[in-house]
Symmetry: D2
Subunit: 386 residues, 4 copies
């Protein structure tokens, strides 16, 4: 049974979501940030059919509390490639730009070419609890079976939220992971200080979850590419928004005294294009180029780990012997590569735009990217779209 | 506070250890298996100065019990490169021969070149609990500090014991991980059905933990190479002992009906030779050749993951700016490569020799490698050393 | 126009081939070496339908000649996945066990997942001339086209024959590469001191080209796996034949004073099983286990580089957009892995069995593995098959 | 003896160099492109002490000539980490962003951790001739020795110049490679349509060789990071200069009808910071982020291959046994990472700024980036530095 605190947090999260739904927050495009390419209907990873996203957001206590008790500013995000009711795997591959982070389950993704279950994202010190909880969730849902002959190697990633969250209090519980899974849904995705992104910091502004998507031209196959980031990396000075040196123009109120590229970023790329793992690894590697556009130099302290999957070829993992699959020719990859770069570039900015100012442990305060100031700077550089 | 069952398990483990110490079991060499090269005083990974090993062995219930309750045939093994009282890191690298397994923490080992903490080995479904427990143990020992500004990415590996153990009962608890850490010691290492290896199966015989070491000639630097395996892989038919087709000569009582190379093997290689990560990755890759000598073909279902570290260059991770370290020239690596191959070859056989017959969940029974029969076969092939 | 020397060499090679065909040499199996599994009709890589192999063998001058003039003990071997008349690519992947060697073209094999052309093998200092010659050969055969809009990244590998061959005399010429390509054929493959393997040394015996194959059971899909090696690695002491310490039992006449694992081995694995690149990389990695069975420890000076390809899915590289291919389920890979290990193990022994004693530069003499002595040793260890 | 054509080409190249020296071309900074960080005295890879660069530029024939005869628009560039008179190796590592290209010698760079010789860059179809020529050059300079006991695995990379150059005419000869080596020098580096970059195209403008450097603050160690690119990649639409969408603002006169990211980019990163290979691999990976800033999405047809080396720790490859080297702590890498990103970003723009309009095979014409228009666009976006 969940502990009272967690229940409250969950209720709180649901309440917050409802509130957010009632009053939609502007996204980067709404503020006039110019991005290239055509997004899907939700401009979200869920534009790739079948993909569901769920968050558990844990916020409690004020900034004066003590280590081990709180304050709590953390959570769990679940990305389910085929939704929570499917046990079918997807072709997948991963890539590390800088390895100061964790993504469990990747040795088997690498060798099998499959992602068999959700991608979970949480804080650095809660990867274990989330990992084992995913196995428990699978067992309860009949996969692996009760005889225990199957095994599971869940994919769980993290970024570090200890500047705002009592990370050594280990506040994420198994039921929080399961709630993220069970509440996953298609459609619009909550962004900013939600789920695993609750306590994150990005370019010294408040960061968190961001998402974006691109739909390819019909002549390029009409595929969709969706990206979701848990954004916790970056120095203020290097931040570029649509190429504009926004970070340097808004130097105030940096989270840390030193303007290092600390933190990390986890990126999930989904597509319905029929790609095999060799190709998906190349897609995952393109995430670096999107981060490059935003100014990242991927500091030593950053865990910049990316995973890409294709929802095409359902049933491939369960097929017996030699069986047919669909594959896109390498010659047709360029629009997918470009869509990945663009959606990554935008998802990071979306995360910052959505996340408001937050105060956490030791009364640390991290400001949200100020919307008006962002528009001013873009205008100054003749890059305001509207 | 630990739960009663776990306390009993720990007590049980201690009692078992004591019993084992009182009545030393023969090892492969004692049975006349011929191996090349000169082992260290304990023929164990602990022959590398500073390395400590601890086990928590969890055995309870008989074969008739139900999923979720037991029987319990599992545990945790901890390998501490510089002992449990050091917070100093070691240069390290890892390699995957087949990726159907888990070793957390490896993206940062890969990029930093350091292993900062213990290597833990447990069952597949308990990696998470052990991982987070290691962080808790570090926090309590002042690393990372109480402000939470440091983070930790523990290295935890696994093999699957669900044929004997109620793996979906999640019987490993945080205190079991901590006991393995706190009880780690230098000197002789318990082998067979202990620690993480408690419920493992190797070449369809009972498997588990095995270890071995080699000491290089003075002209080659006099370095020590130590290997520890958690051995859970292999088909009976392919098993070779000192090149002799032992598996095919002892076809009786296979654990599974099908003689597949299922299971996995985790291998830890330690050395005091001053190697940098580039070189340690090459050492880790040589583990494959040792397994090749034992007949492995590394089946699709196997998680064959290896990590190698060097205890030389203490203080390197904490040094500031440019600082001196010692490095062995590449030209001098051959004896270390050969020692790695030989110690791996022997550690696997040691694991099987040490592990006796065990009955577990659903009354599954796995026989220990019969010592007399092993000697007979070796003699038949003119390979019995004594 | 070819230079006279090269023409003579080519004629010489053809004459040698004819002589060899007239008087078939015994292979390892013929001598009673026991190997597991069922080979194809030629026990050669050409048992995989479509695969063709061609050699150019360059032998001239006696041991007294000078650097830059001769003696010449070298050549080129070509492996054509779909034969010399096809321009269709194959799915492929590669793996390096130890990197002290060269295989050009591998970055594109890695990323594209295709091998688009032959695998060429020659000596270390002739990789360049062979590489560019392959492009010339493709241009002349209309691929890439005369507009030059296509490019080519040939795969050319090497091992070092400078102990017998005047390697710094650069005796391999473009026409030698082209002859190897144009003379490629299906059916039996010449082994020993031929083609790229002409001047090679293996376990301090004369080495060179070796090959072997396995045919899977119908229940496992009935696929064929073929292996070809250019074998130039290994220490005498570590050599095992069918698990028997043959090297230590025949310590006489080592090529070098020091018994190091110098040299290198290039291994090509072919199969008609419908594998995608992710799977072929796993196949390539299994070559290590076959070498492990033969006693390799992959010394620092060794270039142990392997490439694996699948002849299934013809036309995949040229297909447009999304197109169907066949893929084998991962669950069915084990017999292919095992076949790869076994065929590798045998191909190396075949290379040594086929290669007779040779004298080269500076009157260096390298003895062939003595057949009678090999049989004696196998018998002593109760491992002689007939 | 060099053939007359090559001699003329070399003379021509020298004449061109002289002309260029007499009338210095503006670089990107001179045109007012704003870049961050402090460059070294030459803003070139040669700012890293010891590094020398040499070019052989081959230009002959007009656009009307035929395949196999010309026109010739190609060459060779040599980067010598410790200059042409040193046989000492440097620590090195490499990384592939997209593998549709060649860099020979990298398997041994990867495993040894050393680059033992120059980095050569030429056209795609001349990699072989340059590779073997480097061995010949080493032999003549006493490395490897005349007994042939050493071997050499040269590093040679390429990009494709077949749109302007008669690439299938194989116009690069051994003496062209040797001239690039022998004429290498410290100090200013020629940029644009020189050396291996002679016939290259970048973002559909004329491309070629570019270079840049950064000097770190004294508090960060005062190290220098230098970058040299052979730039042949990119789509016009995606080109950003200092974040400004310059490519879209200058849509005229694209080289190809389709605005794909074809071509490739080879990047060499040099530093005097004492980095070991693990760290240098991380540096090489950061090149991606610099290309990201310039708008690259690394198309399927691109060979984006990077190598990084450190000139510190002279003598390390030749040292015997365990020996001391200097290493920078990982905590101090961030300024080096950032310098790599910035110098890469600038080197690409420098290549385009330096390369003027060129006409080549089939009268293909590629325009140089128009300087005035570049300044106009930067001004329009409020990014003109002066």
């Amino acid at each position: 049974m969940p502990k009272p605190q967690a229940v409250i947090s969950v209720i709180c999260a649901i309440a917050l979501s409802t509130a957010l739904a009632a009053q939609p927050k502007p996204r980067a495009r709404d503020l006039g940030v110019p991005f290239d390419g055509v997004p899907g209907p939700n401009n979200a990873i869920t534009d790739v059919k079948g993909v569901e996203v769920g968050h558990t957001t844990l916020i409690s206590g004020d900034g004066s509390l003590k280590v081990g008790v709180g304050p709590v500013r953390t959570g769990v995000t679940a990305v389910l490639p085929r939704g929570k009711n499917s046990t079918d795997a997807v072709f997948a591959a991963w890539f590390t730009l800088n390895g100061n982070g964790e993504m469990t389950g990747t040795t088997w993704v690498e060798d099998s070419g499959f992602l068999d279950g959700p991608v979970m994202i949480t804080n650095t010190h809660s990867v274990g609890v989330v990992r084992d909880a995913v196995i428990g969730w699978k067992v309860r849902n009949g996969h692996p079976d009760m005889e225990g002959y199957w095994w599971s190697l869940p994919v769980v990633a993290e970024t570090w939220d200890g500047y705002l969250n009592d990370i050594n209090g280990f506040h994420v519980k198994p039921e929080d992971a399961i709630h993220a899974l069970d509440s996953a849904h298609s459609g619009p995705v909550e962004e900013g200080s939600v789920g695993g992104g609750t306590g994150m910091i990005c370019n010294q502004f408040k960061g968190g979850i961001g998402t974006s998507s691109r739909v390819l031209d019909a002549k390029d196959g009409g595929y969709t590419v969706g990206v979701l980031v848990q954004c916790n990396y970056g120095s203020r000075d290097e931040l570029r928004v649509a190429g504009v040196p926004v970070g340097r123009e808004i130097p105030e109120h940096k989270a840390y005294e030193q303007d290092q590229d600390t933190g990390s970023i986890i990126v999930v790329v989904a597509t319905d294009a029929p790609l095999i793992p060799t190709q998906l690894k190349r897609v995952a590697r393109r995430v670096s180029l999107g981060l490059g556009r935003d100014g990242s130099y991927s500091g030593d302290g950053s865990g910049d780990i990316f995973i890409a999957f294709s929802t095409a070829n359902g049933g491939a993992v369960a097929a017996k012997g030699a069986h047919p699959i669909n594959v896109l020719t390498n010659d047709a990859l360029d629009p997918i590569f470009l869509a990945t770069v663009r959606a990554t570039e935008e998802a990071v900015i979306n995360a910052m735009v959505a996340a408001g100012t937050m105060t956490g442990i030791n009364n640390h305060k991290v400001i949200g990217l100020p919307h008006d100031k962002l528009r001013e700077v873009l205008k100054e550089y003749n890059r305001l779209a509207k």
